[in-house]
């Protein structure tokens, strides 16, 4: 059933019944689990905090499994057009939940050593995940915004949770102020689109635009604000200012919570708004996205070279990767969307892995966040140096890693719609970008170790990290199944 047909049916079922709630069961279950967790956590003593942790992992993985069972169900629009469940949302939700769970596993030793493994941290992370799920399934401006704010507010709190760290507080403050500003921009833009089309509901908005019933001028005006808001959430230049400070200032697990899973939600957000809702204005937003991509590629790749802090370096690297992601969406074709989705999923894996390495090298009272802390890693641990090597070359986009096929897919999709010069530009920027990833490899393999480098976190974190890096390699050798999944997901949700 197509999205439109399902939507029409949803609009006709005026009455509320249990069956209308069925598509949202994963969200409902997760919400209930979080509330239970909040209460359970109150009864625990400080040395029993691991119960909260395990309950959180079980909740996330359980919800992911639940969502997994819904994969393959046909597209459903429910709650009078507020909520959609399709293959894209199912895949992205599973990815989100697993990413958040992996973040908690990787971050646990770090958090425990710093007294941050509290009920608050875990619950906020879970609320963030819930917000992302709502965003991913939103089919209405209100739902989109609700999900976005639930996610964002949790993240503001997560970043500044490290109360006595000046840097974390500053980062949280910046994030909050700029985030609120961007939400304001977004709402302003959405209100104008509402004015232009007379609806907040994606299918009606799309219908109005396609049939020329929308006020053209007002719509484009609103679009500018919407795209700005999106660019802020993604961290695309020139709306990237918050990103390096937040990545740097937050405790590393919080950085991953901000840097990995929310990108999945932000992608879904862009897809819902631009591809599902405003496809009729694609000629307008395509131009804007190309500008964002071109700026992001330059800013991310060039400024990253000057960084000595690996978290800041990875933050700028994120900006450049968001440039690629935006480029895929800018193509405005199914091919482009599915390439962007593939890029996104591999990027999230790489982010988890590379920040996971930072966590791996950190220990009590020591943050391994300077590039120099990676010096001579090969002498200390051949295995983790190799894992980091895979991750770095994958971020560079070198075969045989997943990063290469992500880039290839996006570039191919962009050229298909006639932006050959952007492809050449992106390729040249990738060479500049290669330099700073290469520097990490150089530090690990070619420099003598500086000080003590020890690798001693918990076994589960080590296994997970190795698994992530190897997945990046395997996806580089056999990318076809994930690519096919992305293509199917995008076709199904259009």
């Amino acid at each position: 059933m197509s999205r439109r047909a399902s939507w029409a049916e949803a609009m006709n079922t005026g009455t509320f019944s249990l069956s209308t709630m069925a598509p949202a069961i994963p969200e409902i279950v997760l919400a209930l689990l979080i509330f239970t967790l909040l209460i359970v956590d109150l009864t625990l003593r400080d040395d029993e905090r691991h119960v909260t942790y395990w309950l959180a992992i079980v909740s996330l993985v359980g919800t992911a499994v639940l969502t997994l069972f819904t994969i393959g169900r046909p597209l459903v629009v429910t709650f009078q057009g507020m909520f959609v469940a399709d293959l894209m949302s199912q895949v992205l939700k599973v990815a989100t939940l697993l990413t958040v769970a992996a973040t908690l596993v990787l971050g646990r030793p770090y958090l425990a050593a710093r007294g941050l493994l509290t009920g608050e941290f875990i619950c906020l992370a879970l609320f963030g995940a819930l917000g992302m799920m709502v965003m991913i399934s939103a089919h209405h401006f209100i739902t989109l915004y609700l999900g976005l704010e639930l996610m964002a507010l949790s993240q503001y709190a997560l970043v500044s949770l490290q109360r006595d760290s000046v840097r974390a507080t500053e980062a949280g403050m910046k994030y909050f102020v700029l985030g609120a500003l961007s939400s304001g921009l977004l709402l302003y833009g959405l209100s104008m689109i509402y004015g232009a089309t007379g609806s907040l509901e994606l299918t009606r908005v799309a219908f109005a635009i396609e049939h020329g019933q929308a006020h053209q001028m007002l719509g484009v005006f609103g679009l500018v604000f919407v795209v700005s808001g999106i660019a802020f959430k993604l961290g695309a230049a020139p709306f990237h200012m918050w990103l390096p400070d937040v990545y740097h200032g937050a405790a590393t697990p919080a950085t991953i919570l901000v840097g990995a899973a929310p990108k999945i939600a932000a992608f879904a957000f862009v897809m819902r708004l631009l591809a599902n809702g405003l496809q009729g204005m694609s000629a307008d937003w395509q131009q804007m996205l190309i500008v964002l991509a071109v700026a992001s590629l330059a800013v991310g790749n060039i400024i990253a070279i000057a960084q000595t802090n690996i978290k800041r370096m990875l933050a700028y690297s994120t900006i450049s990767h968001m440039g690629f992601l935006v480029l895929g969406i800018a193509a405005g074709t199914d091919n482009g969307y599915s390439s962007a989705m593939f890029y996104l999923l591999t990027y999230v894996l790489m982010t988890l892995g590379s920040f996971g390495m930072v966590l791996l090298l950190s220990r009590q009272g020591f943050e391994a966040e300077n590039l120099d802390d990676f010096k001579g890693l090969n002498q200390k641990s051949k295995w983790y140096a190799f894992m980091m090597l895979i991750l770095m070359f994958s971020l560079t986009g070198l075969p045989p890693t997943a990063g290469f096929f992500g880039k290839l897919a996006v570039l191919q999709a962009v050229w298909e719609v006639g932006y050959g010069w952007v492809v050449v530009y992106a390729v040249l920027m990738s060479v500049i970008g290669a330099f700073y990833y290469l520097r990490v490899v150089k530090l690990m393999y070619m420099d003598p170790p500086a000080g003590e480098v020890t690798v001693e976190p918990r076994a589960d974190a080590r296994w997970l990290l190795s698994g992530i890096a190897l997945a990046v390699l395997v996806l580089g050798l056999l990318p076809s199944s994930l690519m096919e999944l992305c293509v199917r997901a995008i076709t199904a949700s259009m």
């Binding site: 090969n378 070198l398 075969p399 570039l411 492809v423 490899v441 076809s480």
Partner: protein
């Protein structure tokens, strides 16, 4: 027999052994690692033998393997060889064995990683030569940067990191532009990555020129052609002996191979348009770099510059667009693989004993190492193109080819017979002959059995190719003829 898998075996046997070596390798007990690597490299060579024995001297792609790899993108695991790529695969597999033998007592630090890097790279290079799918080729082509970067950067000389990064970024820039060209061709062929489809697709003039230049960037850096050669002396000098051997004997050949497989057949009109440009660059390399080689103080640098000069002959031969030139260029590639590898190994033999590459630190080596000196003189003669050695065949044919096009091309190219002899023999004279220069030289010991093995193998090959080049040219000729026919047709229509 197992013809349907030969190429896959040639690619994956070394890689699997490389991974194995990486896993078992530790520095406390390197012997097992070394033997495993030797077994792996020899097996890798043995599985390649059918390529030589069962090869049909036609222009057809042979030993073809075709499986879907990424169906969404229409990328195939498509392998096959013709007369151009087959000899290069054999050369590569053989060099891997020699490199493993050569490292034996020399590398003691991180032996497992060192050998694994070589074995994995060997498989990747075979893959690049055998790939008939552009993405598959690109994957192998780029992936081999990683082990080479590590080999130079970890086991190299004093300035190794600079050299490694320079090597990496130079080659990456070129190959990413080539990737952009591939994407364009993919869209032009309506969704095929097959290199042979790229050969057939009609292209406009501007498109051809841009594609040619993008691929030129990629392959000219690899060859390396003047003026993008500057990474090579750095990389060579700082690389360990094995790294230099593989760089000179194999990775440079991928550049030459790329011109024949990609530039010329995909953009024939642009290739004709740029032929004078290419010939000029080649002649600059032959003459100017030859003179640069003359003044080098460092033996490895001298051989590195000599490599650039000899590779200038290769590209010169290709862009003459006649059978003599092209066949000569191809023969020169193979011959240069033998000779440059031999010379780098000779320098390695000296370096392992004296820990110096400076010519000035030597003198009168022949008095203490007569057997070694005999080999050194032999390879030096081959390098300067003495008839009867492999170095003569290619150079002679390229000069023959160029005289058909222009007397001056031939005249300028032939000056190498003088400069080449001058720099090589002058180095040999200063190193091997004369009085024993110092106490270190006086303490030298002649080559041992291990060193004798790899030098003798190369000497036999140099002689074989010099005395009986027909064995090689018969394999290459049908493909060359076919390529020339293809390139003569315009793709503009």
């Amino acid at each position: 027999m197992y013809q349907g898998y030969v190429l896959s075996l040639a690619i994956w046997v070394p890689i699997i052994f490389g991974v194995l070596v990486l896993m078992i390798g530790n520095d406390r007990n390197p012997a097992a690692t070394r033997w495993a690597a030797l077994v792996g490299s020899i097996l890798g060579l043995i599985v390649c033998i059918p390529l030589w024995t069962a090869f049909q001297p036609t222009a057809q792609m042979q030993f073809v393997e075709l499986h879907a790899w990424i169906p969404t993108f229409n990328v195939n695991y498509h392998l096959g060889v013709d007369g151009i790529s087959m000899p290069l695969i054999l050369l590569n597999s053989l060099m891997t064995v020699l490199v493993v033998i050569a490292h034996w007592e020399v590398i003691t630090d991180k032996v497992g990683q060192y050998l694994a890097a070589f074995l994995i790279m060997s498989g990747l290079i075979n893959g690049a030569f055998a790939a008939l799918d552009a993405i598959l080729f690109y994957v192998f082509f780029e992936a081999m940067l990683i082990p080479m970067f590590l080999i130079i950067g970890i086991w190299g000389g004093a300035n190794r990191v600079y050299a490694a990064v320079k090597f990496f970024l130079y080659t990456l820039l070129g190959s990413l532009l080539m990737l952009a060209a591939f994407i364009y061709l993919y869209l032009q062929t309506n969704g095929s990555w097959e290199i042979l489809d790229f050969h057939r697709v009609p292209l406009g003039e501007t498109a051809q020129k841009l594609i040619f230049l993008a691929m030129f960037m990629s392959f000219a850096v690899k060859v390396p052609m003047w003026p993008v050669h500057t990474w090579l002396p750095d990389a060579h000098v700082e690389a360990p002996t094995g790294g230099s051997v593989i760089l000179a004997a194999i990775t440079l050949k991928i550049g030459g191979y790329g011109f024949l497989r990609f530039n010329m057949p995909i953009a024939p009109d642009a290739a004709h348009f740029f032929d004078t440009f290419m010939i000029t660059l080649s002649l600059v390399a032959v003459i100017y770099i030859g003179l640069v080689a003359l003044v080098q103080q460092d033996m490895k640098k001298l051989i590195a510059y000599s490599s650039i000069s000899h590779m200038g002959f290769v590209t010169l031969g290709y862009f003459l667009f006649n059978a003599d030139g092209m066949l000569g260029g191809l023969l020169q590639m193979v011959s240069h693989g033998f000779i440059s590898a031999a010379l780098f190994l000779c320098v390695g033999v000296l370096y392992d004993r004296m820990h110096s590459r400076q010519i000035a630190d030597y003198g009168g080596v022949a008095n203490k190492m007569p057997v070694f000196a005999a080999f050194l003189v032999f390879f030096a003669m081959a390098n300067s193109g003495l008839p009867g050695t492999s170095g003569f065949v290619g150079e002679f044919m390229v000069i023959m080819g160029s005289i058909k096009v222009s007397f001056w091309y031939a005249f300028l190219a032939a000056t190498t017979l003088i400069t080449g002899a001058a720099y090589t023999l002058w180095m040999v004279k200063r190193v091997a002959y004369g009085e024993i220069a110092n106490a270190n030289v006086a303490a030298l010991k002649d080559v041992n059995a291990r060193e004798l093995t790899f030098l003798a193998i190369l000497a036999v090959l140099v002689l074989w190719m010099g005395l009986h080049p027909k064995a090689f040219s018969d394999v290459m000729n049908p493909t060359i003829q076919e390529l020339l026919r293809h390139v003569a047709q315009s793709k503009l229509g």
